[in-house]
């Protein structure tokens, strides 16, 4: 049985992560209680909500750091905690409004699945050796997107949540 202890903060507005960014996750309140991290916490997740995937494909590298860039080494010393990938839709190929998520009429009898471009939730499971990076009162997070083809891109997501699980 896993017990979830989590802190949650909404990023105030849509984030344009065309350039590396820092997100204040904690605002002075410990998100992960040291008591739970040592030694009971078995897993820490970073959960990104409403991740846009309508554009090109990319890999988002995540750092506990406020100044990570595409040149920052992917190691614990530099706060690297892993990445998530977005295999993107690559654009809209239909007619006008084809990729408009809010089109159409929906009611309780509508068994059609959600619009294919409905934003995703992506969960990054923090490697066990990196959990200690989250015990400070304030955690600065940088998300560095890198397009699969190496080109510049903008990525959007609505919020990020830190969840710690104790066995």
């Amino acid at each position: 049985m896993k017990r979830q202890v989590s802190g949650q903060l909404e990023v105030p507005e849509m984030v344009d992560a065309a350039t590396p960014m820092g997100l204040d996750l904690a605002e002075g309140t410990p998100l992960v209680d040291r008591y739970l991290v040592e030694p009971q916490t078995s897993r820490v997740d970073l959960i990104f909500y409403r991740v846009d995937h309508a554009g090109q494909s990319y890999e988002a590298h995540v750092f506990v750091s406020d100044d990570a860039t595409t040149d920052t080494p992917h190691d614990l010393e530099h706060g690297y905690v892993g990445s998530f990938t977005v295999f993107g839709h690559g654009g809209c190929y239909g007619d006008v409004d084809h990729c408009d998520i809010d089109q159409g009429t929906h009611d309780e009898y509508d068994v059609r699945p959600p619009h294919p471009l409905t934003p995703w939730t992506k969960t990054l499971i923090v490697p066990p050796e990196a959990i200690d990076l989250f015990v400070d009162d304030t955690v600065q997070l940088s998300v560095v997107p890198v397009a699969f083809d190496g080109s510049e891109l903008e990525v959007e997501f609505k919020s990020v949540r830190l969840a710690a699980y104790a066995t």
Partner: protein
């Protein structure tokens, strides 16, 4: 075979993206990811067998090991033993699919290309093992989809683009690896199932439900734990 013949490669490759209107709706980023792609592989393999009775899909074990060459030679050699162009190295793309992409500014070569990264950046066996240890279906599915996306990006070129990825012959070997890992995970976690809310849902455009994808032996195949080939002289 031309795109308009549902028995052929172009038709099957086009289901994943372009040309519209058939597409992989809700096959990515959802709980349908693994079942949808298993159905996709199943119907593609059945079509292969309609042409060659003992044909079967093979998996590309892309885990990083000291001996990992990156892309398998079978998919990179320019010619086969018969001296003809290797059909696994590249594929043409249906013209209507190219045209639909171009109308939206996506100009891609008319034959699939790859730009693989160094083999040292492939996922490690430890990365894969961590995912296989997850005991919840949705948890496993999401992390497996992430590994899957990583490989699409690693191969690069058309494989990095949803609309054209399935035209690259390596797509099928990659997804067969994903399907194999799901099978191995199922054997470890026999009671872990997709959510009840989706289990009897269909997987369009395939005439198959999520439930029908859960037992590969009922679909007529399974995965060997290991394989080795010996050439007879």
């Amino acid at each position: 075979m031309a795109l308009n013949d549902e028995r052929g490669y172009q038709y099957h490759a086009g289901i994943h993206g372009l040309p519209l209107p058939i597409g992989c709706d809700n096959a990515h980023g959802t709980a349908y990811f693994l079942p949808w792609h298993r159905a996709y592989l199943y119907f593609f393999e059945r079509s292969l067998r309609d042409r060659v009775a003992d044909a079967m899909l093979t998996w590309w074990d892309w885990r990083r090991t000291p001996a990992t060459p990156g892309l398998p030679a079978a998919f990179t050699d320019r010619t086969g033993a018969d001296g003809k162009p290797n059909p696994l190295a590249s594929s043409s793309i249906a013209r209507v699919a190219l045209e639909q992409g171009r109308r939206q500014g996506m100009n891609v070569p008319a034959r699939t290309q790859r730009r693989p990264r160094p083999a040292s950046s492939l996922p490690s066996a430890q990365n894969v093992e961590r995912v296989l240890q997850l005991s919840d279906f949705l948890d496993f599915s999401m992390q497996m989809e992430d590994l899957h996306g990583n490989i699409h990006g690693w191969v690069g070129g058309h494989m990095a683009m949803v609309p054209y990825a399935a035209y690259d012959p390596i797509f099928w070997a990659h997804h067969t690896m994903i399907d194999r890992l799901w099978r191995l995970w199922q054997l470890r976690h026999p009671n872990a199932l997709p959510p009840a809310s989706i289990i009897d849902r269909a997987l369009p455009p395939f005439r198959m439900t999520v439930r029908q994808t859960l037992d590969v032996t009922a679909l007529g195949y399974d995965y060997a734990a290991a394989t080795r080939s010996v050439d007879f002289q």
